[in-house]
Structure formats: C-alpha cells, structure tokens
Amino acid sequence: MDSTDRKIINRIQTHFPIDPRPYRKIGRELNLTEDEVILRVKTLKENGIIRRIGGNFGPYKLGFFSTLCAASVPEDKIDLFTETVNAYTGVTHNYMREHRYNIWFTFIAASREIIEQNLETIARDTGVNDILNLPATDLFKISANFKV
C-alpha cells in the first residue's frame, strides 16, 4: 500500500460519489486516471484491505429493531451456542470476549418482540439462560473511518 492507495482509501470510506462515473470523479480529485483508480481499488479489495464497498444502513431508519446481546456460556456449550446464534441472519456481529459474559452479538429484526422470542428460543435450544438484551437508548457516535 503506497501513499496513492492511502489517499484513495481515505477518499472512499465515506461519501463515495453518487455519480455515473464515480471512479473518474475520484480520479479527477486525486489527479489520477479513472483506470488507475479502478485498478488500485480492485487490488486493495483482492488484498483484503478493503472488505467491501457499499451502502451501510441504520436499522431504525429502515423500520427494524436492533440490540446488543451478551451471554454467559459455559466452555462446553460455546460451539453449540455459536452455531445456534449465528444461524439467525439478524445476528450480524458475534465476538468471543474475555469476561463471564463471554459471547457478545448484535441482533437485528423487524421488531423487539421478534428478538425477545428468538432469544427465548435460543435459550431453550442451548440451555444457556443468562442472556442479556441491551437495546440502545441513545446513539452518540457510529463511524468506521480510519485515516490510513
């Protein structure tokens, strides 16, 4: 990754041009040809530095409900619990963390009730009953920009 790659990355993490020729627009801003921008972005994706390029949506604005859940899962149930939870498409992020509450996942669904029902089902299917449901009541910041 060289300084031109860094400039491109910093340019396209937010406000990707909504333009028929977005890479030409970026190229004009950075004094590069459209082809060069396309080639570099392709390479950054192939190298795994860019995970994806697309739209990111807030669940609430689309009418969905979102929450953070934490579960206290015994060692011998971690695989079963992970498999059970990850099978829900609304579970988008799931991390093992160092704490008594050792499995943390985000859960998005059409309503709060659906999430509560799903958590009950998960508890029944896995025997893990200590699951916290922690919906956000205030959002102060959400951003995923890293100056590189």
Binding site: I12, I18, P20, V41, G54, G55, T89, M96, F105, L134
Partner: protein, 176 residues
C-alpha cells in the same frame, strides 16, 4: 401499530422513524448492501439488476442518502490489515444524570468509533459503551484511561472487553 403498542419505551421510540420506502427503494437498498462492482459504471450494473435506468437509480440513491437512510456510503476496511490490531468494547457505569453529557465527551475521541447508551441489567450495571481501536491491547487500555480522565469516571466503573475471537461478521441483508 404504534411503537407504544409494541411495548417500546420513549427513549427507544425516539429512534424509530417509520420508513415509507417504496418497493423500488427497497430494491435499491437491497442492491447496495452487498459489494458494489468496481468498474467504470457500477450504478449502471446495479440499475440493470433491478430493471431501472441508471439515472433513476442514482436519483433514488441520492435521495436515500439525503434522508440519512444510507448511514454511510463507501469502503469498509478490514481493520486487522490496516494497522488497528486490537479492539476493545469498553463498558462504563455512569450516573444516569450524567450519561448524556459523558456519552458526548466519549464520542468526541477520535479513537472511539461507536458510542451508545444502553439500559443496565440486574447482573450488568454498565450503561455506556464505546468501541476503541488501537495498535495493541496496551494502547486500548491507555485510550480508556484517557477517556476515563476526561469523562471523570472512576477506574472501578469501567471494564475493557477484548475480543478473543470473531465468530461472525456480516452486513445485515435488508429486504432480501
């Protein structure tokens, strides 16, 4: 059904803006939530995919963007490969009366990417959450200390939860 009928509290209702997306807007949302193609005219490719013109597609994207329905449009990096090797979720216990002001202080730190308030649970006393990213775990601890000092939070009133394993990481697929 009104949010109140769903049993949601007022603080939660505040975040629910009932969407009035048309079917075609939903299709545009669905087409944008994957990986858009890297080529000269990516929006033409996406527009063809849902059977509308490039011009109409771009109009809809611009409108969704203006309305804030697209929260962020652009590249998402793989953190591990871009120099931020450690991430910790820091859970904070702050007096309710101070929570809003403290949340805003925490959000102002560049190292903080996410900052939320959540109601505590009987077995879990924390009410503010920040995601911090750093080169290593010691850096994350140092960042948390710096935030604690600025926000006047005692060191016993916060905890760092380091991720030990990524078990799933995807984007939500809406209207699929």
């Amino acid at each position: 059904m009104a949010p109140k009928d769903l049993g949601l509290d007022n603080k939660t209702i505040k975040y629910i803006i009932k969407p009035m997306l048309t079917d075609i807007e939903k299709k545009v949302v669905a087409s944008l939530q994957g990986n858009i193609p890297v080529c000269q005219r990516p929006f033409l490719v996406l527009a063809k995919g849902i059977g509308i013109s490039e011009e109409k597609y771009l109009d809809i994207v611009a409108r969704l963007n203006e309305k804030g329905i697209i929260r962020r449009f652009g590249a998402t990096l793989k953190h591990q490969k871009s120099g931020f090797k450690a991430n910790a979720m820091v859970a904070w216990k702050v007096d309710d009366a101070r929570a809003k002001a403290v949340g805003e202080i925490m959000a102002s730190f560049q190292e903080v990417t996410h900052c939320y308030r959540r109601d505590p649970a009987p077995t879990w006393p924390y009410n503010l959450y920040t995601m911090v990213h750093g080169a290593d775990e010691a850096t994350c601890h140092a960042i948390a200390e710096k935030i604690a000092k600025a926000a006047e939070v005692d060191k016993d009133d916060y905890t760092l939860l380091f991720s030990r394993k990524e078990l799933k990481k995807t984007s939500m697929q809406y209207f699929d």
